[in-house]
């Protein structure tokens, strides 16, 4: 038994370079118009709202550790917004376009990254202000927000949401991929928060050496998880119609021989045929 994965010849191969450039320029505008901005912007606004609430209530009862929890809570709407990023209601039509399958999701992710970076920068700026107020109220020396580590966490959560969404887009539940991915990513974050892996360092100010090491290890693990999830997402969006096909060499060979000629390419019935 041998497992093979085959890719049909894409239509874009036939297009010349100039056409490709023009197509890409046109595609950018098209993708930007069809990107689901609503969930993404709603998630970003909700995240900014949570951070603003942290800033408003900073002081008496809010500790630096609680602020860390609050900043992470503000990441959840963003993660949920990202989970809807890959959903394409007209994917049957999009699949017939003469462009590589990964191009549209990649462009969407690139466009969303700009929005996410803007939202994230604003959130960190507001959270840093809240942290300064908290530390002043607690009589502790000032400290900076570990924004790099927190950004690593956010990136990993978003990557997990994207990977789940991309995987689910390949299934019969594709119309619910966004919501399942959003809930799945949040459930994963919740489960990891309860797990004894120390992935969510609480101490922000006045850290000991061990706590600093814990932060470093945590954000390294998050970045590794994010990269792994990103790779999974890239694989999943690479070709939505790729299927692992079981080829029983001994017994099926004669049948294949009748169907094609000496190992000629067979394409999935639902996939794109050769251009």
């Amino acid at each position: 038994m041998r497992l093979t994965a085959e890719r049909p010849v894409a239509a874009h191969v036939a297009a010349d370079t100039n056409h490709r450039r023009c197509a890409k320029a046109a595609l950018t505008g098209h993708v930007a118009r069809l990107t689901p901005w609503g969930p993404l912007l709603a998630g970003c606004l909700a995240g900014i709202g949570v951070t603003l609430a942290l800033r408003i209530f900073a002081g008496q009862s809010e500790s630096a550790a609680a602020l860390g929890v609050g900043v992470r809570a503000s990441f959840l709407p963003l993660t949920a917004g990202v989970a809807f990023l890959l959903h394409d209601p007209a994917r049957q039509l999009t699949g017939a376009l003469p462009a590589r399958a990964w191009l549209t999701p990649a462009m969407r992710a690139g466009l969303a990254l700009l929005v996410l970076c803007g939202s994230c920068t604003l959130q960190f700026a507001v959270a840093a202000g809240a942290l300064a107020v908290d530390l002043r109220a607690a009589g502790q020396p000032s400290a900076g927000l570990p924004w790099l580590a927190l950004a690593g966490e956010l990136a990993a959560w978003c990557a997990v949401a994207l990977a789940l969404a991309a995987g689910l887009e390949r299934t019969r539940w594709q119309n619910l991929a966004g919501v399942i991915a959003a809930m799945g990513a949040m459930a994963m974050v919740g489960a990891l928060a309860r797990a004894p892996f120390h992935l969510f360092s609480a101490t922000i100010a006045d850290m000991t050496r061990a706590q600093q090491q814990q932060w470093t290890l945590a954000w390294q693990l998050w970045v590794a998880a994010g990269i792994a999830a990103g790779c999974a997402a890239a694989w999943a969006v690479g070709d939505p119609w790729r299927r692992a096909r079981v080829q029983i060499v001994r017994h099926v060979q004669p049948i294949l021989g009748r169907a094609g000629t000496n190992g000629a390419t067979q394409t999935d019935q639902r996939g794109r045929g050769p251009a």
Binding site: P39, A42, S61, P77, V179
Partner: protein, 615 residues
């Protein structure tokens, strides 16, 4: 997920109806279509991973919040139902969130699947389909009923005091229904799943703040927090004796019902055939919600607070008394099951007291819990952890509770010295410590040792810099007195568990230095029950009690019975007792002075003012 074969329910329902009676008769079959579609949707909701996931989290929360942990006595080892029922409903919040999300997805399914045009060709109207979505909430409600019954059964199997309030538990069903109807309404207007997620997240963050009793960052004054779906006021409820329970406000059920009706109206408004009827319902629901909200914002009335204070400072007026083996036990009605357990420890002491007049002993439950805390006491600010200025009632209760450990004549009708117990009792590994504490108080009563202390105000200049001041209640030390060893022996032998706890309490590590007059004495502090000061015995007395425990009980009892009255006099010494029992007198170690000192900017040690020898 509820996004499966969306067409099945209406089409099959209509198919069933039309097969029997024909499309012409469809108007008459509208109700059966509604019921069939509603039941199908309900089954999908029951199977929804979102609802089931929320339910799983609810189950976990109930276990987390209500399990009895083998902590150190006097950590509460019993569950008070008047707080637990509120908590069980709070644990349903994740299920409510799941129902909200699943219902929103179900209501938006037709658009998500691009089936709206096809549905319009169906004989069943859009109002029927929306009604079916509302009826489908029966699914999560069935799960919630099962959850509540199971939670009540499990909590009742723990050491629980009181009875669950079924109307409070019913509020949990309203909570789940509210989540579902709100989700359906959202799905009718804003069908993108992100809407449901954001609403659930926003409500979830608010509810997390409202159900965290101590560490919540935002504190709302009075009854304002009850404007939100649910609040867990465990800080107040667990400090109450269970007679007058101010939370949740009964009007909250009306508020939940009003909100459900409003959300239902919002769900049906786009498809309603008669908008006048729907508007009438909306106005009525708005009136109910507004009235109940206004009623809740008023907070707990002064009259109710006065009743709660009266139950603490005048316990005799509300307590029940029961005679068990000649001893009178007075307790708050909900704590009746504990009386028999208290009797085990007290009987164990009195059984070995020669000629004890049992009828003279009254074991009284007193309440030392502080319930005048936020939200009963308005917080000073939105983000303040502390309560505002205490009211006159709060001060009265606080003074009374402070006097319990100082004034032996505080409560009329109590023994002299008084034997108090409180709401804390042990179970499992903590039972021995609880029994020993009550046995110590009973033994002090039997041997004439005081169970109350002397209040001393002090202002001490710490060597090296700084000073400390305050007020302390000090137990006297029966230095060299035989009755201390007798009391310790009586208490330690009350029950097998109390004996084990005594051995642990009298371990070498438990020895402390106590200043008695100008001298320093090595003592062991054996805790008493409730607000009692306990027995502060010398190491020698405790060691003698341990030797007495090794002797046959009858031998010790006969020695004590011969001159019981004289053994109880302060003049009778441990040396005389050891001699009478024919055991070697244990050595009294030399105590080192233990006073705080300052080195650099840090102060080490705690200052305790000198106490007196028991007279």
């Amino acid at each position: 997920m509820t996004g499966g074969s969306a067409l099945n329910a209406p089409s099959r329902a209509v198919g069933d109806a039309s097969a029997g009676r024909g499309l012409a008769n469809l108007r008459g079959t509208g109700r059966s279509v509604l019921m069939l579609a509603g039941w199908r949707e309900a089954r999908w909701l029951m199977r929804s991973p979102l609802v089931l996931g929320g339910l799983a989290v609810s189950v976990w929360l109930v276990w987390l919040n209500n399990r009895i942990r083998p902590g150190d006595f006097p950590e509460p080892a019993t569950i008070f139902w008047w707080a637990a029922d509120v908590n069980v409903v709070a644990c349903l919040l994740p299920t409510t969130g799941g129902a909200l999300l699943a219902a929103q997805l179900a209501a938006g399914r037709s658009r998500r699947d691009g089936m709206e045009h096809l549905y319009r060709t169906y004989p069943a109207s859009a109002a029927t389909r929306s009604g079916a979505h509302l009826l489908s909430l029966a699914g999560p409600l069935i799960l919630a009923v099962v959850f509540i019954v199971a939670a009540v059964a499990w909590v009742a199997a723990q050491p629980a005091i009181g009875q669950p309030r079924w109307w409070v538990l019913a509020a949990g069903l309203l909570l789940v229904a509210l989540g579902g109807v709100l989700g359906t309404a959202l799905g009718s207007w804003l069908r993108h799943p992100m809407t449901g997620i954001l609403v659930a997240l926003a409500l979830g963050l608010i509810e997390i703040d409202l159900v965290l009793t101590y560490s919540n960052p935002i504190h709302l004054a009075g009854g304002i927090e009850w404007l939100f779906p649910w609040v867990d006021t465990a800080g107040v409820l667990t400090a109450l004796p269970g007679l007058t329970v101010p939370y949740p406000p009964p009007a909250h059920l009306a508020e939940l019902a009003g909100l459900i009706a409003l959300a239902g109206v919002a769900a049906l408004w786009p498809v309603a055939a008669s908008r006048r009827a729907v508007a009438t319902i909306a106005v009525a629901a708005l009136a109910i919600t507004g009235w109940s909200g206004w009623d809740q914002v008023q907070g707990v009335s002064t009259k109710t607070q006065a009743a709660m204070a009266s139950q603490v400072i005048l316990p005799g007026s509300v307590q029940r008394c029961q005679l068990i083996d000649g001893v009178r036990y007075c307790y708050y009605p909900a704590f009746a099951p504990l009386a028999r357990q208290w009797a085990d420890a007290v009987d164990g002491v009195l059984a070995r007291v020669p000629g004890a007049a049992r009828t003279a002993l009254t074991v009284r439950q007193v309440w030392d819990g502080n319930f005048f805390v936020p939200p009963l006491l308005a917080p000073t600010g939105l983000t303040s952890n502390g309560g505002g200025a205490p009211s006159k009632l709060a001060t009265t209760v606080s003074n009374f509770q402070g006097a319990l450990s100082k004034d032996p004549r505080l409560i009329i009708g109590s023994s002299m010295p008084p034997v108090y117990t409180d709401a804390n009792w042990g179970t499992g590994s903590t039972l021995g410590a609880a029994q020993l504490a009550l046995a110590i108080s009973a033994a002090e009563w039997a041997t004439g040792l005081p169970t109350t202390g002397r209040a001393v105000s002090y202002n001490y200049a710490i060597p090296g810099g700084g000073s400390t001041s305050g007020t302390a209640v000090l137990a006297c030390v029966p230095v060299g007195q035989a009755r201390a060893a007798i009391a310790a022996w009586l208490a330690a032998g009350a029950t097998p568990a109390a004996r084990s706890a005594f051995v642990s309490s009298a371990a070498p590590g438990a020895v402390v230095s106590t200043q008695v007059g100008r001298d320093w004495v090595a003592t062991v502090q054996l805790a008493g029950s409730g607000p009692s000061v306990g027995l502060n015995a010398t190491v020698q007395a405790v060691a003698l009690a341990r030797r007495m425990l090794r002797l046959p009980a009858r031998q010790v009892e006969s020695v004590l019975a011969r001159r019981w009255e004289s053994w109880l006099r302060p003049a009778a010494t441990t040396a005389e007792l050891a001699s009478a029992l024919a055991v070697p007198l244990p050595r009294q170690p030399v105590a080192r002075p233990s006073l705080p000192y300052t080195r650099g900017s840090a102060t080490y040690g705690i200052y305790t003012p000198p106490t007196q020898t028991c007279g």
